[in-house]
Amino acid sequence: MKGGRLQSLGQLVLSLGLFLLVWQLAAQAVDDRTLPTPMAVWQSMVVEWRAGDLFFHLGATLLRVLAAFLVAMTIGSAIGIWLGMQPLADRLVDPWLILLLNIPALVIIVLSYIWFGLNEAAAIGAVALNKIPNVVVTLREGARSLNPEYAEVAVVYRFGFWKRLRHVVLPQLQPFFAAATRSGIALIWKIVLIVELLGRSNGVGFQIHLYFQLFDVATILAYTLAFVGVMLLVEYLLLQPLDKHANRWRGARV
């Protein structure tokens, strides 16, 4: 167990080290301010950190990402599971879903700012609204592919709604949740960037756009990598252990 953890830490370090190496070599080869070296990005990060900006903006963005993520996952997966199990509802709601799925983020964000004002709730709502249809679509596929044999066990043994959800349905949906979570956080973060661009006065998106106008690639990358760093922590300290826990039954077969 412990050896396994050390080993996977080693693999992480190896993988990141390799990445830095490739980057460094590429930056040296190009030698241009559009591809700054890892060191230059690190320095920008330190500058922003010292100024207090990094922490402030990253924090603001992370809070928005978290809030929108929770809202989108809760609502999206409830709807998705429902549609996957109720073909009639699905056929009626499907066109709406495709519509919502394909409305540009920009349009949703602008309209929600205009209708609900430039406030945090509108921002988070707009992001969630952008993400919800993706969650719905993913979980709906999961619900469609549920194994009816287990549902029959639940019927015969008269499982109540929650028991059925928890012990029969959700475990089968785990891979779909995992997919929706990982690509979901990423998507939400990307939309939060646009939301911050269009109507917030703080956040990583706000900063990235400012530095884009100044064409300061190093600082843009500094903010990006700071977020990526947080995501790596989330992945290794939260998602992977959760995955492992949910999949321990698969792993039991050695």
Binding site: V156, Y157, R158, V168, W249
Partner: protein
Amino acid sequence: MPIDGVVPVSESAMESDLMTEQALRVCVQGRRFALAGGDTLHAVGALDFSLPANSFTCIVGPSGCGKTTTLRMILGLDKQYDGSIHLPGNGPIAAVFQEPRLLPWRTVEQNIRLVLPESRQNDSLDELLVNLGLEDLRGFYPNQLSLGLARRVALARAFVLRPQLLVLDEPFVSLDEPTAVRLRTLLLDLWQLRPTTILMVTHNAEEAASLADRILVFSKRPAQILRSIDIDTPRQQRDRPVIDSIVSRLGD
């Protein structure tokens, strides 16, 4: 709450149930499956039988004749039939499917406990698990079990519920004969301990002859009742010759 689609019994029917002590009444015109291309497959023909309360009935019949389909209709898993199935009372029902159907992401113990109501979550499973030879496997996941072990867990899941109606689809296959004998005895013990109506499908004529009060012999597809054989000899007295004679009555 009765299972959806199973017509609840009216007051008067209830009374007559009490009189005849019926635990289950099946009266269906048949079940056809729609096939691609518009054809249908006639799986079950007209069936009309009832099970007395606390009786032990076996169904035997050729492979693919419609036995499992019949059980599924009784369990409320298949509602696309014409006719009616009455399940008086609303005590728990338990089923052992033809495959173990354990939840792969739950351990042996969790799979068993899951069917218990809240009020019984603290019951000890020790005795049951020992009887089924599962005492060391509480924490195993189903993919760590042999098929015979998994079947035993499925039996444990059904037994633990102390059901009013117990439906078994070939429960004792994939077991060596000594284990099968032990489990059959266990089933009879449990049955005698508390009133349970048992409906069991088996391909093993001797098993049916040694366990059942009544044997329903199904025809080949579409399933119909060819013969209904009542066995009056008490189980203790069913020795080889008795069983052989019952078996010979099934076959012709």
